[in-house]
């Protein structure tokens, strides 16, 4: 069935008009999505979609480090935190600073990138799970500093976090207000949707262009075999640091957007669990494949929210609420993670390279792949 559809699609793609028509329909759908969602599911869901877009940016950033360069990073949320706190400190009453968003976001990307290099430089020699635990430790260190930097000098306001952060203002449009245009009222979450969507598209564009560029191929080469890559003239040190820095800067940008969108941040948003969820998005969707990663990010943001309807479902089936749906939500989420991985071990939409290896039914290639991904120095 799916194969039939795929071959039909391949056939239709020959025709330019079909391709253009698809793009136009897709663009229209994306433009109308908040209005359609707002009318059918309620405005709360537009906010969830906004978060899904933020997570897509995060997942794409981490995909550079994990998916392309094959470096397992379990502390990625630290860069998100750096971006968010930078925005919060430069645009809130905390220090009385109110910088414009266009000054903060590039600075956030740069600072997060610097942190990425800071993490990458001492860990260049580490492989596999040793790298994973060091990145995890790095993420925890950043979070603990954020929690405790309220004494003796109050910088981050400690566990209470920073509130009353300035909303994002673009070309005079305050995204925290509701605007009325041609009789349509456009609430704040819709405006943020369009902002995040444009950032998302920009990041997707960068990722697509990177994928087959010289740098992208160098990352894949390092992932597959670092020694062979360096024999081919790749400066593995710089290329690895670049992967850390680029991934981190994407995290920094989305962190800044998150702070402006929320208006309030606290260290609780940047726990290890968040890092793990972003890794799950990548692996679940299909590591190294941009479409897969996007799908994973959307699924893992929307699915837990959809599970909030479990209460309604119970009332329909049993006539009463037996178990608090909030208590069941994560349980089912965890089960879903396990089941999806068991039935699709290489992710929902595996990258072409990986799929080829699976289809070839060549266990030696697969084994090589397993070993090369995160092998230890033997």
């Amino acid at each position: 069935m799916i194969a039939k559809l795929q071959s039909k699609w391949q056939h239709a793609k020959q025709d330019r008009r079909v391709v253009y028509a698809t793009w136009i329909v897709l663009a229209l759908l994306l433009l109308l999505l908040p209005f359609v969602t707002g009318m059918t599911l309620g405005r709360g869901w537009v906010r969830i979609i906004d978060f899904a877009l933020l997570y897509i940016m995060l997942a794409l950033g981490l995909n550079i480090v994990v998916g392309y360069a094959g470096l397992l990073d379990l502390g990625y949320i630290a860069f998100y935190a750096v971006g968010a706190y930078l925005y919060a400190l430069l645009a809130s009453p905390q220090f009385g600073l109110h910088w414009p968003v266009w000054a903060i976001l590039p600075l956030g990307a740069l600072t997060a990138g610097l942190f990425g290099v800071l993490l990458g430089a001492p860990t260049l020699k580490l492989r596999g799970d040793y790298l994973a635990i060091v990145t995890l430790g790095f993420g925890e260190i950043v979070r603990i500093f954020l929690t405790n930097l309220n004494a003796p000098y109050n910088i981050t306001n400690g566990p209470q976090g920073i509130s009353r952060i300035d909303p994002i203002v673009i070309a005079g449009v305050d995204l925290h207000r509701t605007y009325h245009l041609f009789g349509l009222s456009i609430p704040s979450t819709y405006l943020y949707y369009y902002l995040f969507l444009s950032f998302c598209l920009a990041i997707i564009f960068v990722c697509v262009r990177l994928q087959d560029s010289r740098i992208g191929r160098a990352w894949v080469a390092i992932r597959e075999d670092e020694i062979a890559a360096s024999a081919m003239g790749i400066n593995t040190r710089n290329i690895k640091l670049l992967a850390f820095a680029m991934g981190a800067s994407f995290g920094g940008i989305s962190g800044g957007l998150f702070a402006g969108f929320q208006g309030f941040i606290s260290p609780e948003s940047f726990t290890l669990f968040e890092s793990i969820i972003v890794v799950c998005m990548i692996v679940l969707g299909g590591m190294g494949n941009i479409t897969g990663v996007i799908l994973g990010a959307i699924l893992l943001t929307v699915f837990p929210e959809a599970l909030r309807y479990l209460g309604e479902l119970q009332r329909l089936v049993f006539g009463q609420i037996l178990v608090d749906p909030n208590d069941l939500r994560l349980l089912i989420f965890g089960l879903a993670l396990v089941l999806i991985m068991i039935f699709r071990p290489s992710g929902l939409l595996p990258s072409v390279r990986r799929e080829r290896e699976f289809a070839a039914d060549n266990s030696s290639v697969l084994e090589q792949e397993q070993e090369s991904l995160y092998d230890q120095q033997r």
């Binding site: 994990v66 397992l72 001492p122 860990t123 020699k125 580490l126 492989r127 799970d129 040793y130 994973a132 635990i133 060091v134 995890l136 430790g137 790095f138 925890e140 260190i141 603990i144 500093f145 929690t147 405790n148 003796p152 290890l272 793990i276 890794v279 799950c280 692996v283 679940l284 590591m287 178990v323 208590d327 069941l328 994560l330 349980l331 989420f333 965890g334 089960l335 879903a336 993670l337 396990v338 991985m341 068991i342 071990p345 290489s346 990986r354 266990s363 697969l366 792949e369 397993q370 991904l373 995160y374 230890q376 120095q377 033997r378």
Partner: protein
């Protein structure tokens, strides 16, 4: 001086608990090269099951308290062995030949599931350990030590000696070492790798159960989220010692316990009062990063032959 001895004692107690949990991580890693992220939750279940048995027996039977404690401990060990076995069968065995990150995700998924199952069963309250061990204090070199601390350290050492003997002196241990080196070759020698892997998970679960009960008895209330941070620290300890290496996990655990406790005790003096003991975890992770920078495969990571 007495602060030094006091922190030494605290560090040894904490370290022996870390070491017991770290052994579970490292044995699994040695054979499957898999981070069993759900191991911390197995530990949590150990504490919870023991607690449930203790509370039930204290209420409804007139048995002497120490016997009840023994029954609770054995019950927890038994349950966690079954749990470890089930974990491997459900979440890891179907993915044995999958890409390396897939089992990591199922491990995380199982960890979330186990946490929430525990929450549904025991609720979100902090459950404290019943007073069945009469605490006695002794003074050694100006520092306090309780009988509970002594029991924890001695029991941990005893268990580790038994484990070492099991791995180096029995048929099962030899089979485990062979499987760790090469599952294919081991199976040519008449060893069933599946049995060995199941056994490894069960031994790891048993050690985790003991550690969970110790944490509950010594550090205070059990909670459905207690496994997460414990597991994280124990995994850090395993990596510190060189993951996959049994001796490494034992020393890594003790070392991490000592680092944390001395870090908490002296960090204020070291930084001139800028950092308090709330930076205890930072200290532990910072030392971990430093050690791995200079020894990229842990303290004992090189002796590959000793993996089990």
């Amino acid at each position: 001086m007495d602060i030094f001895v006091q922190q030494l004692i605290n560090g040894l107690v904490l370290g022996s608990i870390y070491a017991l949990i770290a052994l579970g991580y490292t044995m699994v890693y040695g054979i499957l090269e898999l981070i069993n992220f759900a191991h911390g939750e197995v530990t949590m279940f150990g504490a919870m099951i023991c607690l449930a048995i203790l509370n039930a027996l204290l209420l409804h039977s007139g048995l002497p308290p120490l016997l009840i404690l023994g029954i609770g401990l054995v019950g927890a060990i038994g349950f966690c062995m079954v749990l470890g076995y089930a974990l491997e069968r459900i979440a890891y065995r179907p993915l044995r030949h999958a890409p390396r990150l897939a089992p990591l995700i199922t491990a995380i998924g199982m960890s979330i599931v186990l946490q929430n199952v525990a929450m549904l069963i025991w609720g979100k309250k902090f459950l404290s350990f019943p007073d069945i061990i009469p605490i006695q204090r002794f003074t050694i070199a100006g520092a306090n030590i309780t009988n509970l601390q002594i029991v924890i350290i001695l029991l941990a050492i005893l268990i580790m000696i038994c484990l070492w003997l099991l791995i180096h002196r029995t048929r099962l241990g030899r089979a485990m070492r062979a499987t760790a080196q090469s599952p294919e070759l081991a199976s040519l020698m008449g060893i069933n790798p599946n049995t060995i892997i199941s056994a490894t998970f069960m031994i790891g679960g048993a050690l985790g159960a003991v550690a969970g009960v110790m944490v509950n008895a010594y550090y205070g209330p059990a909670h459905y989220t207690m496994g997460f941070m414990l597991g994280l620290k124990a995994f850090t300890a395993a990596v510190l010692g060189g993951i996959g290496n049994i001796t490494g996990a034992m020393f890594g655990g003790l070392l991490l316990g000592l680092i944390e406790s001395f870090g908490a005790g002296y960090i204020g003096q070291l930084t001139g009062g800028f950092m308090g003991s709330n930076y205890q975890h930072v200290f532990a992770f910072f030392v971990l990063i430093l050690i791995l920078v200079f020894r990229p495969s842990g303290l004992f990571g090189e002796r590959v032959g000793e993996r089990a």
